[in-house]
Symmetry: C2
Subunit: 424 residues, 2 copies
Amino acid sequence: MHNDSNSGAPGTPSGRIRRRRGSNEVAPEVVKANGNHLLVNDRSKYKSMLIRAYSSVWMIGGFAFIIYMGHLYIWAMVVVIQIFMAKELFNLLRRAHEDRHLPGFRLLNWHFFFTAMLFVYGRMLSQRLVNTVTLDKFLYKLVGRFVKYHMVTCYFFYIAGFMWFILTLKKKMYKYQFSQYAWTHMILIVVFTQSAFTVANIFEGIFWFLLPASLIVINDIAAYFFGFFFGRTPLIKLSPKKTWEGFIGASITTIISAFLLANMFGRFQWLTCPRKDLSTGWLDCDPGPLFKPEYFTLPEWFPAWFLSREIAVLPVQWHALLLGLFASIIAPFGGFFASGFKRAFKIKDFGDSIPGHGGMTDRMDCQMVMAVFAYIYHQSFIVPQNLSIEMILDQIILNLTFEEQLAVYKKLGQIIQERTFGES
Amino acid sequence: MHNDSNSGAPGTPSGRIRRRRGSNEVAPEVVKANGNHLLVNDRSKYKSMLIRAYSSVWMIGGFAFIIYMGHLYIWAMVVVIQIFMAKELFNLLRRAHEDRHLPGFRLLNWHFFFTAMLFVYGRMLSQRLVNTVTLDKFLYKLVGRFVKYHMVTCYFFYIAGFMWFILTLKKKMYKYQFSQYAWTHMILIVVFTQSAFTVANIFEGIFWFLLPASLIVINDIAAYFFGFFFGRTPLIKLSPKKTWEGFIGASITTIISAFLLANMFGRFQWLTCPRKDLSTGWLDCDPGPLFKPEYFTLPEWFPAWFLSREIAVLPVQWHALLLGLFASIIAPFGGFFASGFKRAFKIKDFGDSIPGHGGMTDRMDCQMVMAVFAYIYHQSFIVPQNLSIEMILDQIILNLTFEEQLAVYKKLGQIIQERTFGES
């Protein structure tokens, strides 16, 4: 099945930091343990590398185009990736023999998938819809009502699936069905946590999606090449092809790239402005102090060939360093986890969606860990100053009637007055 | 192990609606399928019923006392139940042989448990702490800071556990370890979703916790007795001891009880007032229109022995009917799910914490489904009118500095002014 997709290309999947090909330091038992014979299939190794490079170029090109198109298109891309991942993972522990006796059982997975979709995206979408145009009162109320009953709607979809599951339980299939139920939930939680955070990042400003995602790609590629040319010392038993040399080289590359990329990305309003509606028009905002360059004069002893005595640093670049650190040290654990998982269940790849790369999930393992971190970092250390005011105002405008808004206004006035008197 | 806890008492666990003991309608294959011989061990059946009744009385008494003590004590009870459930479920798929080779692997479960605890309760606790007393500025800031970095703190605890897991993966144990990891996550999600909603209900007013919980208990007991005395027609293959007679009888009992209990509970401010702080003092509030009695005059033809021509109905009683309907129709599916699960994994009870009842989890299956529903129902159909104003004010006071509060006040004033001009 899909597990054989890369059969002609040993050593391609999952390994991010590769052991130097043909190096003397390759411990034979490691090679054996992996079941691949790195030393033998040299030609197919190169062929696979070409396929991989070719589809990488296509992916990066397509990705850049989507970034250029804007927030809604990126969101659509995330949803497509999500569907692919869910499909790959749903199929993973599926057993055709059992399924033949359980008509409609597959459909239940997708019922839960769309319930999760409604739950995660329904609210986001309607909040942005309200901001999109000066809605007429009817539509405004309609969206408002949807938001109000959003949770209960999702709950009933879920309960319907839950009852469907119980009513279609079949004798002798219990264990398979319960395992599948748990597995479906695990998949949906992993896939939707990650993508909900990713989409949230996108609308905070493409910057907060693009920088973390790029850092993971850079870290992957750098680890591949550093490992290819210098890899000697094995890093972790879980992924025998990863080496300390690859890991360290990639870390340094990633952290430097983070600093430079942040400076580059931080200069485009298209990337730095948050998007509060669903339009795709041009963005114009005050990107705030984080993206205002600060000028540093270089010391005298700095080499004269350097372009300028003065360099401009955006404050966001310091934050980028931390993102780079995370992308190179912690995020790879997402990859280790995926490798371990594949070993545990004796599969080679999660799927065969991308030629030379394996499944979509194989390329997303670290991205997931990173997107969640980027979101939480942004919310904890970047947002609080100015944006939370707007978030609260959004809430007030969206969830309350005019009379209730007035009530909030009056009460807040009272509280502020009390405080002012208390302080003076 | 714990599965044998009830070995002297066949037929006790999990079955909520019991097939009539010794009735001619007992289909022999059902009895066999269940592995118990209902017809044989009559004496032990009665003994088990006594044990069960005895511990039920203790439980209900203890429960009433805790309700009397107040919100904090109920919360503590929920946490204790939670710990018991997690313990039972963690042990369920545990294999002693594998564990011997994985020192410290059990500890990881509890690491995740306490991370989830911090995540779910940390925010609740600190929000209520701020409301508790007029805090001095230092403490106020401290709690504020904790709330601000709450998410990132939890994230790092989680990531630490994630890395711990990956770094302690042992060859040949991968499959066991990954299954345990997934299992731990499923448990924590189920246990914490339920208890987070339960605790939220408690602080919205004990009413919203007590009524749903009572309805489940009443439904359980009524189904037991209706099944015991009238049970003939099997209800669902999953739980052979449940009958249609038990199900229907229990439903009617539960819906009537819901209507009556709501009238009873709705008259105590101790139960109806929300609690916004962590004190245990007396509550005094305007419980709102839901709890203000409306008077209906009974029609002439109504029997004269009825106490009064006029009856007082609290509007909340109509909502209670819906809760009763849910408790008797949908919530039992929680029990079916648990029965199916136990059959799938060939276990009898989830544990042996409560004499005669099996494990804590065995008594909580329907409670979980109910608590989530009660919360979502309350949020969707009860709260929106008045409480959301206070929620937003809470947010403003807790999350924003004084200057930011001023900024919200000013902007809100502008928005309201624009609206007023736009409308006039």
